[in-house]
């Protein structure tokens, strides 16, 4: 068999395996958000606390009533998953980086009293064909 045929064959097999999959934008289950970011509680956590723990947000909307952070999802030492802010720095002083498929978005909506009113973590979730209805 020629090397070219083999390469094309491997490519076709990979394509067939991946063609039925897509990553869709979905909010993470609220229970999992609580497990991974336990300090954020609706009606209790203040904006000041969020800013002191997570630092400068990635984006601000509506006069800072909505703040967003870019988070990485990693496996922690105890085997569980954890979210870490991409702007936090490691021991070498470099910002934490993660691959696009592991990038999550933390959204915090504050009420007039500057306490967290609602929050969510949006992530890219791998789905198989037929499990969700995609456009066209």
């Amino acid at each position: 068999m020629r090397i070219g045929d083999l390469k094309i064959g491997l490519f076709l097999v990979s394509v067939l395996l991946l063609a039925g999959c897509a990553t869709v934008v979905v909010p993470l289950d609220p229970q999992l958000v609580t497990e991974r970011l336990p300090f954020i509680r609706d009606g209790k956590t203040s904006k000041e606390e969020v800013l002191s723990r997570l630092g400068e947000p990635y984006s601000r909307y509506e006069g800072e009533q909505i703040l967003t952070y870019v988070m990485c999802e990693d496996l922690s030492l105890d085997g569980g998953r954890r979210l870490s802010h991409t702007r936090t720095t490691d021991t070498k002083g470099e910002a934490v980086r993660c691959s696009p498929e592991r990038t999550n978005n933390l959204i915090l909506v504050f009420g007039p009293d500057d306490l967290v009113e609602r929050h969510s973590v949006v992530l890219l979730n791998l789905v198989k064909r037929g499990s969700v209805e995609l456009w066209r």
Binding site: I3, C21, A22, V24, V25, I66, H119
Partner: protein
């Protein structure tokens, strides 16, 4: 002397024949497919869950995260994702390559001055290389009232 010239001609002829055979056997193919797969896809179900006049900017951010673009002081959000629209294969001699043809899909969202959803527009590219930016800009330039409940 005559023999050497004859050999050179035969050699040249063979080289031309080899080149022509190579060209004949090599080539490329573009295989268009219905759009499928993709990265960061926003589902039809998600988009249809947003209600003009009821959903707010906060609701959309909580569901979709940061937009790819924020325009006109957050009056417009643009979200984008990529889907596979076909495959490209090229081969020749002992080698070959293949690649997926990706196209960018866009979701435009307009908000009212009191932060409520006004309207949405989903733009699907027909071909991977077609530019849908102008369609989005035309849509943003349209002025529409909120639908009456």
């Amino acid at each position: 002397m005559k023999c050497t010239r004859s050999n050179a001609r035969v050699m040249l002829g063979r080289m031309v024949l080899l080149a022509l055979t190579g060209l004949g056997l090599s080539g490329c193919i573009i295989l268009p497919t219905p759009s499928h797969g993709g990265v960061g896809v926003i589902t039809k179900e998600t988009i249809e869950s947003f209600e003009p006049g009821k959903s707010t900017r906060a609701d959309i951010l909580l569901r979709l995260g940061d937009p790819a673009e924020r325009l006109k002081e957050d009056r417009f959000f643009v979200y984008q994702w990529k889907r596979i629209h076909g495959y490209f294969f090229a081969g020749g001699g002992y080698s070959g390559v293949g690649a997926t043809l990706l196209a960018t899909h866009s979701l435009g969202i307009e908000f009212t001055p009191d932060n409520q959803l006004k309207r949405v527009k989903v733009i699907h590219p027909w071909l991977p290389l077609t530019d849908k930016r102008s369609s989005l800009e035309e849509w943003m330039a349209e002025e529409r009232e909120l639908p009456h409940p």
